[in-house]
Amino acid sequence: MKTYLFVKAATATADGPSPVVPKVGEIIVGLIAFSILFLLLKAKAVPAFEKAYAARTSAIEGGIEKAEAAQRAAESALHAYTAQLNEARTEAQEIREEARVQGAAIIEDLRGKAVEEATRISAAARASIEAERQQAIASLRHEVGALATELASKIVGEALDDHVRQSGIVDRFIADLEKSEK
């Protein structure tokens, strides 16, 4: 194993120079070397490392901020969706209600119309029945008159025929009949 890179001091005595007494030259070299090292590290290395630290810190803080912003956005979106959902529900409820009301109105309307129609039909029927009755009464009156006249003429004779027809005896007779019926 080689211990010395450079030539070992040949002039040194067994004890050599005192190792605890500093050499002025080495102190000066040390002062200069350390000064140079300090200035270079301060100028080059330290600012760069600090820059990296600052960048890292801001990157982490930026990341946190971004996450917070995303969370806020998600929350507000959730709120919006919930609100929309509620609105939609209310609207659906309203529509259903309206439909129900409308349906009821339609039914009511139809029912009214049906009743009206029924009334109308029954009134028409009644009218037609009345008309037919009147007609039947008229025709019956006529026929009964004729029959009675025929019968009477057969009984009383034909001479009376014209005279009775002119005086309206038959009509009076029937009217009397009606009166007596009532």
Binding site: M1, K2, T3, Y4, L5, F6, V7, K8, A9, A10, T11, A12, T13, A14, D15, G16, P17, S18, P19, V20, V21, P22, K23, V24, G25, E26, I27, I28, V29, G30, L31, A33, F34, I36, L37, F38, L40, L41, K42, K44, A45, V46, A48, F49, K51, A52, A55, R56, A59
Partner: protein
Amino acid sequence: MAQPAFVPPSSADFFFNPAFGSSFLATKPVLLVMFSVIVIVAFFTISARKAAVVPSRLQFAGEMVYGFVRNSIGKDVIGEEYQRFVPFLFAIFTFVLTNNLFGVVPFMQFPTMSHIGFPVSITIFVYLVYHYVAIKKKGLGPYLKEMCFMPGVPKAVYVILAPVEFLTYFAVRPLTLAMRLFGNMFAGHLLLLLFTLGGEYMLKSALFVKFFAILSFGMAIGLSFFEMGIQALQAYIFTLLAALYIAGALADEH
């Protein structure tokens, strides 16, 4: 086979002739220090160049070291005003760590901080910085008063306490800071030298002794890993203490 007696490693082994020329600037420790500056600046400049949010492996490695100094030492110890001291602490930590680790890097295998001149030079900066910060923040008078006369102590005790505190701030702290780092690196290197040189010596000896050479080299390898731990720990302690002194200078209460 006659062998000269074993010469144990001594402090003389820590001193080198210039690799070239005759200036001390060409000696191994000085060259290693210069090399360390180049290596550190190159590594951190390249690893920090992109400063990406998602780091590459290289950037991650650089950031790990930087983040360790910035948060575990700077932020935790100094508190609020830590940011402006981070470059200083970062430079101390990387400088000491790299130069310490040179002690176990093959072909370098010399911890530069075992030359006391280098720990002293960093300590001078630490010393100037923490006194400057305190005086700027509190003013010279209040600083000295707070230092020597800490509140809540019986007046008679100040006779002893005031000089002790004064010495602590102005002499003991810088001395221990520099000596601790130097001593650890010096002793560690000496220990590695002992087992390596011992193994080397035994390898040249009789066959029976050669087996112990393996043991010796094994120890050297094991201790190298142990040293790595100490080297990293000493870099951490040095930086931590620098941060503590600065924190004390900034603190309002003693």
